[in-house]
Symmetry: C2
Subunit: 308 residues, 2 copies
């Protein structure tokens, strides 16, 4: 079993490549739920849904989020009724939130709902939330503490980040499937996807037990740097690194994951900044072939690091 840790669009794309490269039953994608929030009375899970839609082949290839060919008629009507429409939810996407909210309200855990949704959408690999308990990313800025979506969507990542915290980790446990994997000897390796380390991966590492489990690993773990030439393909990773006084270079990513990874995959644009344990390749995923090629290269690299 290979475990991928994933957040938003970049993570979902590599997870999609891994799903094509690995047979069903040999990949579990553990997804960040720190961005989840309640909006319009609905439970919205942006990262789990992005991974689900991407692996189901339903994701919008341009936007990265939401469903391809989506309509936004409900949002338009909501605006006419004076409702909050700053967070855009497509009509098909709304069905996911409505049905999930209904099932959560009946007491069903997020992970079984996600497993059912994924099965119905034809996904043959495991996609599990990091936790069934609510963990919420809080962005601490000079303008005050902002819930993640307020920072990300409403403020378009403009406020400078001083630090991040993950509310609810004290009372949280890993989701049952993640817990099982953490206690099994079936894990052959872990791939940290090219997701934002601070916003997408750190919440997963903050779930009680996850960081110690990786630190004490008997399997190799690699990360794919989300940076290409000092910039993120999408999202505010480079901006956040500058705000945290970090150099937007591969070494800073490696240092961020210190003690957790055995190697880092970096883009050829950053080859001048390569160091010790690095795989240099093209990490840009423009199409399906890119996703699968990068996934296969990452898996080979992971295999090469196996402790014999």
């Amino acid at each position: 079993m290979i475990i991928a840790l994933a957040g938003g669009v970049g993570g979902a794309r590599l997870a999609h490549g891994l799903a094509r490269a690995l047979p069903p039953g040999e990949l579990t994608v553990v997804v960040n739920t720190g961005d989840d929030f309640t909006h319009l009375g609905l439970n919205i899970c942006p990262d789990p849904d992005t991974v689900m839609y991407t692996l189901a082949g339903l994701a919008d290839p341009e936007r990265g989020w939401g469903v391809e060919g989506e309509t936004f008629n409900a949002m338009e009507a909501l605006g006419q009724l004076g409702g909050e429409n700053w967070f855009s939810l497509g009509d098909r996407d709304l069905a996911t939130h409505i049905e999930r909210t209904r099932r959560l309200a009946l007491g069903e855990p997020l992970s079984t709902i996600m497993a059912d949704f994924c099965a119905r959408l034809g996904i043959q690999h495991g996609v599990i939330p990091m936790s069934d308990d609510p963990i919420r990313t809080i962005v601490h800025t000079a303008e005050g503490d902002l819930p993640f979506q307020d920072y990300f969507v409403r403020h378009r990542c403009a406020p400078a980040i001083a630090r991040l915290s993950f509310k609810g980790t004290g009372d949280a446990s890993p989701s049952p499937a993640l817990n099982d994997l953490m206690q099994s000897d079936r894990v052959r390796g872990v791939v940290i996807c090219p997701s934002n380390p601070f916003l997408s991966i750190d919440p997963i590492l903050a779930v009680p037990g996850v960081r110690p489990w990786l630190q004490g690993r008997k399997f190799p773990c690699i990360a794919i740097s989300p940076l290409i030439g000092g910039k993120a393909v999408k999202g505010p990773a480079a901006k956040i690194m500058a705000e945290l006084q970090l150099d937007a270079k591969p070494r800073a990513i490696a240092l961020h994951y210190q003690g957790l990874i055995d190697g880092l995959v970096i883009d050829q644009e950053d080859s001048a900044d390569a160091f010790g344990q690095c795989l240099v390749t093209s990490t840009l995923m423009r199409n399906m072939a890119d996703r699968e090629r990068l996934a296969r290269e990452a898996l080979s690299y992971l295999e090469s690091l196996r402790i014999v």
Copy 2:
């Protein structure tokens, strides 16, 4: 002030005609909420929404329910996720339910939410629910007791009705605006719209205080028969009358409203069955002109019955 009691499509259409015939501030439409139900975790109010969409000029002219030009992408996606899609909700319509559910959950009464929605959609007349308290129509059939939408949509009105009851009336009050009108001397007359007497009007009459208020009226009250040539234009009125051993003729409608109305408007197809206090005209509303003409004729008739 003219008060119209209305339920589904026929009621909404006459209410629309009345809204065109009367200046703003001189019409209040009191709408049946006995069909309201919770579905997919959302509060659905079929009759209030039909009246609202119709008066706002948004209603689908063919279907009668829902919004014109509606898409059903959320329902299709919901089906793929294994959700219940037997009750079809359009994408634009969903926004109404989502926003209403959110506001109800915050403790806001249905009538203020409806007033706000109607104002935002440009409706200049009052549209008020019969009550802010939950009243639910129960259809008692040989196959058991069915919640209204189960009977109406899921079973397509097939089970024979033995009787109807309106759950929750014991603890219910008229909505504040209806209560104010019931205590004011501003009411010039009441029009019972050509809605189903059993399913749409009886729930309104079952709200505590409404029937005695009409019985003790100092203003005229008329009903428009929903029958044309022994059939309902839409819906199961004639079928239900047969099941209740009633003749689907104007007199049975008049007897149903005995003590409550001073006159009955019937269609010319039923002229042979006219009796004492009847206005015979064309009651079929195919277009906007029909709605307005029937409304004006009904208002003149109502005026002619005024106790001088």
